[in-house]
């Protein structure tokens, strides 16, 4: 083959090869287009599937609020069976047409302002019930960011709203019940206090009545005694045998009016006791009703109070060995000694009952100075109590004891609050229980006295 033909053949082969590549590229492009078309169809199918299974109404409209499309849920609720049927319709064609103007007004506003909104809508559906929807609507835009319509998602929250309403009603009923119970409890407490005070008044009256008679008799005797003594002396002078029965001691006893003075002093003591008891009861009553004013509080020494409590508390022999007093510092507070002693008696009594019940533990009472409050701590190691029990300690009428009233610790709380302080309880279940009495610091700083 000549060189010339050889070159031509090569040129042809090259051109053929290029053409072949071009044909292959076109075929490949066609394949890719087919694949893309398939993918697009798949994507649309996926999207449609997703839109149709979403448990909410999805729809989109043009600028004139004419439906461009929607999902199956939307079509069904609007009163149609196929999503295609809603295309070209407006809200006036749907079952909720009574609310159409309101809905379309909202749509126009969103398209005008370009700002999406979330709000609740109501509409009457085919079931004849008024449904509530949580609707989220946003403007629909083209590639140039121009608003071309609106897209919305509405979720039927009717059941949720009904539940919410029922819950609200229940909460109101519960709140009312609690308020009624609380009110009834307060009335019962007030009635109890009044009854106690009436009872106390009756007891005082019944005590003072015979006391009055005794006192009046002593007044009569005081008046008559000089005359009686004169008569006895005269009788003695006349040698009357019975007059001489009185020895010198008896005579002196009569002359000095000692028996009458003794009776009169006893009457004063009893009456003072009644008056003091009345005053203490009135103070306790005020503390229970939180009416104790600051003017009625007096300066108290923590050391003296604790020492008096230990002197006065009726400890058994075994209890005496289980209590220790650790006064590292004496502090003063404004309070009422009777109320604090009563409170401490209560806490100590509870602790010893727990010690006896669990067969273990001892009791330590200590004082402590603080920056905000000065403290008295009463700690027993009888085993503590579970948190759910401790949480109810100060609520009143709560007791774990067979014969308890549940008033003791509620009284303690009210007492400490009436002093401007508080009482706290720290319990480590299985180990210990500690009551902490918080007393506000006195205004003037005081030195720590041992």
């Amino acid at each position: 083959m000549s060189v010339r033909y050889k070159n031509k053949l090569n040129t042809f082969l090259n051109r053929f090869s290029r053409k072949k590549n071009q044909f292959e590229t076109i075929a490949s492009l066609k394949k890719r287009i087919q694949m893309l078309e398939m993918n697009q169809q798949n994507a649309e199918n996926y999207l449609n599937n997703i839109i149709h299974v979403v448990p909410a109404n999805i729809y989109w409209k043009d600028l004139n609020c004419v439906l461009l499309g929607g999902n199956l849920s939307h079509a069904l609720q609007a009163g149609f069976t196929d999503p295609k049927d809603v295309i070209g319709k407006t809200e006036h064609d749907f079952v909720w047409k009574e609310h159409a103007n309101e809905v379309m007004e909202n749509d126009r506003l969103i398209m005008k302002t370009g700002v999406g909104r979330q709000f609740e809508e109501v509409g009457m559906l085919a079931d004849g019930k008024l449904h509530t929807f949580l609707t989220c609507k946003a403007p629909m835009r083209d590639k140039k960011d121009q608003i071309i319509g609106i897209i919305g998602v509405s979720t039927d929250i009717t059941d949720f709203k009904e539940l919410q309403h029922e819950l609200l009603q229940l909460q109101m009923v519960a709140a009312q019940t609690v308020a009624n119970e609380s009110h009834a409890k307060a009335i019962a407490e007030e009635e109890l206090r009044k009854t106690i005070m009436v009872l106390v008044g009756d007891i005082v009256h019944d005590l003072r009545t015979p006391l009055t008679a005794i006192k009046l008799v002593t007044d009569i005797l005081t008046t008559l005694l000089p005359g009686i003594i004169d008569i006895i002396e005269e009788a003695k002078n006349l040698g009357a045998r019975t007059a001489n029965l009185l020895n010198q001691n008896s005579w002196d006893y009569l002359l000095n009016k000692t028996p009458i003075t003794d009776i009169q002093n006893s009457i004063v003591m009893i009456n003072d006791f009644i008056n003091t008891t009345l005053a203490e009861l009135a103070t306790a009553n005020k503390a229970m009703s939180s009416e104790l004013s600051r003017d009625e509080l007096t300066k108290q020494s923590s050391r003296r109070i604790l020492e008096n409590v230990l002197k006065a508390y009726p400890f058994s022999n075994s209890e005496k060995n289980k209590i220790s007093l650790n006064i590292t510092c004496d502090f003063h507070f404004m309070g009422n000694s009777i109320l604090v002693m009563k409170l401490l008696f209560n806490v100590i009594k509870n602790a010893f009952e727990q010690i006896a019940l669990n067969g273990k533990g001892d009791l330590t009472i200590s004082t402590e100075r603080g920056t905000e409050y000065n403290l008295i701590r009463i700690k027993d190691t009888a085993g503590g109590a579970p948190p759910e029990i401790v949480a109810n300690f100060f609520k009143g009428y709560f007791t774990t004891k067979e014969k308890g009233t549940g008033i003791g610790l509620a009284f303690a709380k009210k007492t400490m609050v009436s002093f401007g302080g508080d009482i706290l309880c720290h319990s480590v279940y299985g180990e210990s229980m500690e009551f902490i009495l918080q007393f506000p610091l006195l205004l003037a700083p005081e030195a720590c006295v041992l």
Binding site: V200, G201, V204, H205, D206, L207, R208, T209, P210, L211, T212, A213, I214, K215, L216, V217, D219, I220, T223, I267, N271, L278
Partner: protein, 120 residues
């Protein structure tokens, strides 16, 4: 002429001893356990009634109200005695001339009686 005092109390020892004491102080004394005694009986009127608050029969409050509203009795001074805890407020409510707490302080009682008598 002796001034007359009517004592009303349900407790006999108090009636007896007060009667003796007041007679020793030269008063004409009559005693009763019946709150309606004066209203129900035609007796010589007392100048002063010394009455306990807790008395049998009609209540002390009713008795005082009836006496004060009656032309025949309204001039009589009334001194209230009580061992109750609220004697001051009760006396004020009842509008009595004076009151004295039990156990009675004799000197205080005699002063109050004299003061009431002086008003006549």
């Amino acid at each position: 002429m002796k001034k007359k005092i009517l004592i009303i109390d349900d407790y006999l020892p108090i009636l007896n001893s007060l009667q003796m004491i007041l007679e020793m102080h030269n008063y004409d004394v009559e005693t009763t356990q019946n709150s309606a005694y004066l209203l129900e009986n035609d007796v010589k009127l007392p100048d002063i009634i010394l009455t306990d608050y807790h008395i049998p029969g009609i209540s002390c409050g009713t008795m005082i109200k009836q006496l004060k509203n009656h032309e025949k009795f309204k001039h009589i001074s009334i001194i209230l005695m009580s061992g109750g805890i609220d004697i001051e407020s009760v006396s004020s409510l009842l509008g009595v001339n004076d009151f004295i707490a039990k156990p009675v302080d004799l000197d205080a009682l005699l002063n109050k009686i004299e003061r009431c008598m002086a008003q006549f």
